[in-house]
């Protein structure tokens, strides 16, 4: 009887030990909501980084587009200035005497805005002005606004010419309305 009791006691002790061991989870930690805070932190950092990179890059893109438009405007101004130079040096088109030729630039006839229709009131110191859309064979073209000013240099007894060519990145009709019209200017003096 005593023997049985001892065996039973030992069995019970072993059982108790196993039960106690099973009650103790190895990785039990209290959940206090820290993970949610960490997740919010990581998400906000990622969002801030992403949006700030995007802001910088969109500015880069605007800058490169402005650079591109600037090229169009510059070469429009340059072409217009060369055109005025050509008609002045080769045909004396901007003289006080109305020329016989019809001046064309890029296949378009030049019509002076100032003086209108080359009126007789024109004097050598007047500024002649014309406006054309260059490179319009594909698209609306780019506006060029050219003024040619003739003056007399009394000391050298020669004619001074000042050509100011404004080139735009949009067509002449769109200058006033386009939100992103760009202007470049080329000036020739001789």
């Amino acid at each position: 009887m005593k023997k049985h009791l001892i065996t039973y006691s030992l069995q019970l002790a072993g059982k108790c030990k196993r039960f106690l061991r099973s009650l103790r989870p190895a990785s039990y930690k209290p959940q206090a909501g820290f993970t949610l805070l960490l997740a919010a932190l990581v998400a906000s950092i990622a969002l801030t980084l992403g949006s700030s990179i995007y802001t910088i890059v969109s500015k880069e893109l605007i800058l490169s587009s402005i650079g591109q438009d600037s090229q169009f405007a510059f070469y429009t101004a340059d072409t217009a200035a060369e055109c005025a130079l050509y008609w002045d040096t080769r045909f004396n088109w901007f003289s006080t005497t109305p020329p016989t030729q019809t001046a064309t630039c890029d296949g378009q006839t030049i019509t002076l805005l100032n003086p209108p229709g080359r009126a007789n009131t024109y004097t050598p110191t007047s500024t002649m002005e014309f406006q054309i859309d260059l490179f319009s064979d594909s698209g609306a073209g780019y506006c060029a606004d050219v003024s040619v000013e003739k003056g007399i240099d009394h000391t050298a007894n020669a004619t001074d010419t000042l050509v100011i060519a404004n080139g735009y990145s949009v067509s002449c009709t769109a200058i006033d309305t386009a939100p992103d019209a760009l202007q470049r200017t080329v000036e020739l003096q001789y």
């Binding site: 005593k2 009791l5 001892i6 006691s9 030992l10 019970l12 002790a13 108790c16 030990k17 039960f19 106690l20 009650l23 103790r24 989870p25 039990y28 997740a39 990581v42 998400a43 990622a46 969002l47 980084l49 992403g50 949006s51 990179i53 995007y54 910088i56 890059v57 969109s58 880069e60 893109l61 800058l63 490169s64 587009s65 650079g67 591109q68 090229q71 169009f72 070469y75 340059d78 072409t79 060369e82 055109c83 130079l85 050509y86 040096t89 080769r90 630039c105 890029d106 296949g107 260059l134 490179f135």
Partner: protein, 228 residues
């Protein structure tokens, strides 16, 4: 002895019982990990929080590359115009110096109409008319770089004035490697009846990403403002 052992055993049982009772936390629940639904909700929330900023950053990177290439392309196009212009201006100087046989458009391989205008390349490293070489029907070779300037590997370009390219790619030679940019220049008279006005068109084409091809084109009209 046996009596003692029994008493000890009973004491031991009592001890364990007490200990076990003390360990039983009333609000204790068994943590056996997350359920599938919990995991999926957590993953989807994490994705919602991380994917938009990540894709924003990725898109920004692609756009940054595009902006960089666009800036490079318009400077290359500008260089192309300026080289042709420099050839024209060198002729003006030759005429001004009394070279009666010089023509203002000498050295520029131009066509009388846009359709017949030959495509040619220019090279900033040798701004003479010999650097203006016409391309084959398969197109102009891609621009190369040696790490500091754009051009073509030395010895690759055809020799002589307005030579014709025999290769469509200069390959890798003495530190020069291909770039993604190809610059094609065309020059033609705006009107075949008017030999005084010449249109110069420079197109810079580059590969954006794996499939997209971008082109930037600028035009300039050159005039024969000095007779000759």
């Amino acid at each position: 002895m046996r009596k003692q052992l029994i008493a000890y055993s009973l004491q031991l049982i009592e001890k364990y019982k007490t200990h076990a009772r003390s360990l039983q936390v009333t609000s204790y629940r068994l943590q056996t990990g997350f359920t599938l639904i919990e995991t999926m909700v957590a993953i989807s929330l994490l994705m919602l929080a991380l994917i938009p900023p990540m894709s924003l950053a990725a898109q920004a990177l692609t756009t940054a590359y595009y902006a960089r290439n666009q800036v490079t392309a318009y400077y290359l196009a500008q260089e192309g115009i300026e080289i042709v212009r420099a050839v024209r201006d060198a002729n003006i100087i030759a005429i001004a110096e009394g070279n009666s046989s010089a023509n203002i458009f000498d050295g520029i391989p131009y066509g009388t109409t846009a359709a017949t205008a030959p495509a040619f390349t220019v090279d900033a490293l040798q701004v003479t008319s010999s650097a203006l070489d016409t391309c084959t029907s398969s197109g102009c070779p891609p621009l190369q770089t040696n790490g500091s300037v754009y051009g073509y590997a030395p010895g690759c370009e055809p020799s002589g004035t307005n030579g014709t390219w025999t290769t469509s790619d200069c390959g890798t030679a003495s530190g020069w490697t291909d770039t993604t940019f190809t610059r094609t220049v065309k020059a033609y008279l705006l009107s075949s009846s008017d030999p005084d006005e010449m249109r110069v068109t420079v197109s810079v084409t580059w590969k954006q990403g794996s499939f997209q091809t971008q082109t930037f084109t600028i035009n300039e009209d050159l005039y024969r403002w000095v007779s000759g």
